[in-house]
Subunit: 448 residues, 2 copies
C-alpha cells in the first residue's frame, strides 16, 4: 500500500501499550503512521483478570484503538495479523478475513507483544487457558462461573463436587496472585448466597509456582504480606510445585523433593510463562540477531534491531538489560522508539540508549489490599490498594470507560456483587461436551 | 432428583421472562421450585440489539438468574438444556456438560421461549444471524464492527467497499426497526471520525420485509412516523421484498410483482421469524394437542396443556387468542400459571382463564425518537422515547446494572460514543476465513 503524500511512512505492528505510546508520541511528527493489529482493540491487559472474574466487561478493558486515536489524523489503524516482515523489501504482510495486505514502511516499530508459553507442554492450553486476550478472559469467565453451576448439579457426589470447586492458578507472579485473589473473593463473597446445594465458600483456590517464591520481583517483606493476605482470604499458596501433567480432571505436580502427587481440579488457569510473538524469530532469522529463551530479540541499546536502524522492537518482544515484561516498559519503549524516529527525521543525533524509568510495581491481592513498591518505598494493605486504584483510574483510557469501571468497582469492592458474569456458549469445554451429549440424545430419540 | 421435604415440587423450564415471573409469583408459596435453564442467565431480550451495536455489555442485559433470585430461598436454579419431558412419568431430562439430569415434578411450567425461524431456509442462518441469545448478539457485534474494519482495508476498490458498507436487516418488526436504527446511528454518528479511507457515513442500511407494512402491530400513523424517522437517519425501508436467496456477498430478493434482484451486502441480520422451542412439538406428540405454524402449543384458556392440568405452557411457546410474542405476555402468563398452581394447592378454584392486560407497545427508532402505543394513546418522537427510557429503566433487573446501563446510554445518546465495541475472535465469519488464510500461509513458508 502506498501513500499519496511522500511523507515518511512509519508502520507500527501491534495496538498494545508499546504500539499505542509510539503512535501518540508521533502525533506532531511529519509522518504517516499505519498501525496494524490482529484485533483492533487496545487491550488494557493488567485488568484482564477482572474480565475473567466478572467484574468488568470486555469493552472496559479493550477500547477500539481507532477510537482512542481518532483525533490523531496522521495515524490509521488497519486490521491484520502480521504474518511476514521482509526487512530487505521493507514490507509487512498481514492477514485479514479478506486476504493478504502488503504494507511498505520507511520506519518500523514491532510491538506485537507476547503470548502464553506452556514451556513445551502446548497440550496444557486446552485445560488451562492463559490470560493474554479478551477471548482468553471470556473463556476463563465461562469456565469459572460454569464450574459453580456444574458443582451445584453434582452436589450429591461430594468428591465430584469438590473437583469442580477446586481452582488451580499456575504461576505466582502478579497475574496469578490477582487471579487467585479474585476467584477466592468471588467464591467466598459474591456467590455465597446464590446456590442451594453447594456452599461456594467451600471452594478451594490453589496458587502454585515451580519456584519457591511468589511475586519474585517484590521484596521479601511484600511477598510475605501478599502471601498472608491471600491465605487469609482462603487461597492455598503452594510454592516449589512444578506442574508435570494435566487433564480435564486435575493437575499432576512434583515438589522440590521430587514427590509426585495429583491435585483433582476441574478449573485451571495458566499464568506462568510468556513467549514473544513469533515475529521475533522471523527478525532473528533475517538478521542473525539473538533471541532469548522467551523468544525475545536482543535489541540495540536504542531498541533498534541490530543492523537495521529503521526497525525498532519494543515491549514484550524486546530483550534489553533484563527489563521486566510490564506495561510501563512497553509504554516507555514505544515512546523512545518514536523519539529516535523523530530525531532521525529532523537530522538530530540518534542512537540514544533507552533508559527505563521504573515508576514502581503493584499487584492487588484482594479488595482493599495490594502490595506496591515505588522507588525505595514499600506499601502493603489498604494504602497500597488506594495507590493501585488511583494509578489505574489515571491510566484507563477514555473517559466513559473510566466512569463505568469505577461503578463496577464500587459494586464489587464496596458491595459484593459482580456486574459481568455473563458467559457465552462458546467455551471450549462446554461446547465440546454439549455437542457430544446432543449427538447421543439424537441417537436415542425415535425417528420423527 | 428428589427433595427431602415433601412439599410440592414445581419445575420451571426457562429463565426468561415467563420463567422468572412464575418463580417470583411463587415466592411465598409452600412449594419447592426448580428452574432449569440452558444458560443460567436471565436475558432481557428487548435490549439485545444494544449489545449487538456496542452500547451495552452482555452482563447488563443478562444477569445470572440465580443472582436475581438469590433471596428467594424456595427456588434453586439448575443448568440444563431440557431434551425430554415425560408427561406420564412426570419427569424432565436435561443435558449439561456433565451429562443427563432427570428431575421429577408435581407441577410443570414450560417457558422455554422461541428461537429464530428461517421459514425453511435454515442455511440462511450462517449468513444472517438472528437476535435471540447473547451469543447471537456478540456474533452480530463482531460482524457489524468488523465490516467497517474490512471496508477500510478494501477502500481502494469502491465496489467491494460498498458491499462491506451495506447492512441488510430482514424483518421490519420492532427488533428489525431498532437494529436498523442503531446500525445507522453507529455508522453516521459514532464511527464518523474513526476511519481514514472510508467514510462510515456512506454506509447503506436497508430494512426489508416481505409484507408491505412495517411495525405491523402499530397504527398506520405510528408506522408512518417510524418510517419517516428511519429514513431521516439514513435507513432505506423497502417493504414487500421477500428474501429468496443469500450468500456471503449478498441477498436475493423478489418484490410483489415477482421481479428478482440482488442486493450486494456483506452483513445481514435476521429479525424476521420465530419458532417456538422444539419442546412444544414433544408436548403435542404426547398429548395430541395442536401446534401452530410457529411451533406454539394451543393451550387451554388457563394456559395449561390440554389433558394435563399440572402442566402450563407460557410465553413464546403458547398460542392463545393470538397474543403477541412479547415480554409482557410472557411475564403475565408466567404469573398466571403460578397463580393457578397456588390456587390448586390451597384447594381454591382453578381453571381461571388468562386475560392479558396490554400495557402498550413501544419501539425505539433512534436516539431521542420512538413510537409508543399505550391503551388508546399514541406517541411518537421524543416523548415516546422518554416513555421508552422510563419503562426500561424501571424493568431492568438489578440496581447496579441499571446505573451502568444509564451511563452507557448517556455516553451513546448524549455523546456519540459506544462503550462496548469489543468483539471476540470467535465470530464464525472471521474465524473460518482466518483459519483458511493461516493454513495457506503455512504452506507458503519454507519448512523450519
Amino acid at each position: 500500500m502506498s501513500n499519496s503524500a511522500r511523507r515518511p511512512h512509519v508502520v507500527i505492528i501491534g495496538t498494545g501499550f508499546g504500539g499505542l505510546f509510539a503512535a501518540r508520541r508521533l502525533r506532531r511528527a511529519d509522518v504517516d503512521i499505519t498501525m496494524i493489529g490482529r484485533t483492533t482493540y487496545h487491550l488494557f491487559q493488567p485488568l484482564l483478570y477482572q474480565v475473567a472474574t466478572g467484574i468488568l466487561s470486555e469493552g472496559e478493558v479493550a477500547p477500539a484503538a481507532r477510537e482512542v486515536l481518532h483525533r490523531q489524523k496522521n495515524v490509521r489503524v488497519l486490521l491484520g495479523d502480521v504474518s511476514r516482515i521482509d526487512l530487505e523489501a521493507r514490507t509487512v504482510t498481514s492477514l485479514s478475513p479478506i486476504g493478504e495486505t502488503v504494507t511498505s514502511y520507511d520506519q518500523l516499530i514491532v510491538a506485537a507483544g507476547a503470548g502464553q508459553s506452556y514451556f513445551g507442554n502446548d497440550h496444557f492450553a486446552e485445560f488451562a487457558p492463559g490470560m493474554k486476550s479478551v477471548d482468553d478472559a471470556l473463556e476463563l469467565r465461562g469456565r469459572i462461573f460454569g464450574a459453580f453451576e456444574v458443582a451445584e448439579l453434582v452436589a450429591a457426589d461430594h468428591e465430584k463436587a469438590r473437583e469442580w470447586l477446586t481452582f488451580v492458578v499456575i504461576g505466582a507472579g502478579a497475574t496469578g496472585v490477582e487471579m487467585a485473589g479474585q476467584i477466592a473473593e468471588l467464591a467466598h463473597r459474591t456467590l455465597r448466597r446464590d446456590f442451594r446445594h453447594i456452599d461456594p465458600g467451600d471452594a478451594k483456590i490453589i496458587l502454585l509456582d515451580a519456584v519457591p517464591t511468589m511475586l519474585g520481583t517484590y521484596s521479601p517483606k511484600l511477598q510475605d504480606a501478599a502471601r498472608k493476605r491471600l491465605e487469609k482470604i482462603g487461597v492455598d499458596v503452594e510454592l516449589g510445585l512444578k506442574v508435570v501433567g494435566m487433564d480435564d480432571e486435575g493437575v499432576d505436580v512434583v515438589d522440590l523433593e521430587n514427590n509426585r502427587r495429583r491435585i483433582p481440579a476441574r478449573t485451571k488457569v495458566w499464568a506462568a510463562g510468556v513467549a514473544a510473538s513469533p515475529l521475533g524469530k522471523q527478525l532473528a532469522d533475517q538478521t542473525g540477531a539473538e533471541i532469548d529463551r522467551a523468544g525475545r530479540i536482543l535489541v540495540q541499546p536504542n531498541l533498534s534491531l541490530p543492523g537495521h536502524p529503521e526497525v525498532f522492537v519494543v515491549g514484550d518482544m524486546a530483550s534489553l538489560d533484563k527489563l521486566p515484561g510490564v506495561a510501563q516498559v512497553a509504554m516507555q519503549g514505544g515512546a523512545h522508539a518514536a523519539d529516535e524516529i523523530r530525531n532521525g527525521l529532523r537530522g538530530k543525533e540518534t542512537g540514544k540508549p533507552f533508559h527505563y524509568f521504573d515508576k514502581g510495581n503493584m499487584a492487588t491481592v484482594s479488595r482493599f489490599s495490594a502490595v506496591a513498591q515505588i522507588w525505595k518505598l514499600e506499601f502493603s494493605g489498604f494504602l497500597a490498594w488506594l495507590i493501585w486504584l488511583a494509578v489505574h483510574i489515571f491510566y484507563l483510557i477514555g473517559f466513559k470507560n473510566r466512569v463505568t469501571t469505577l461503578l463496577h468497582w464500587a459494586v464489587t469492592f464496596i458491595g459484593r456483587d459482580r456486574s459481568e458474569r455473563t458467559a457465552t456458549e462458546q467455551q471450549v469445554f462446554a461446547r465440546n461436551a454439549m455437542a457430544r451429549l446432543r449427538a447421543d440424545e439424537q441417537d436415542k430419540q425415535p425417528a420423527a
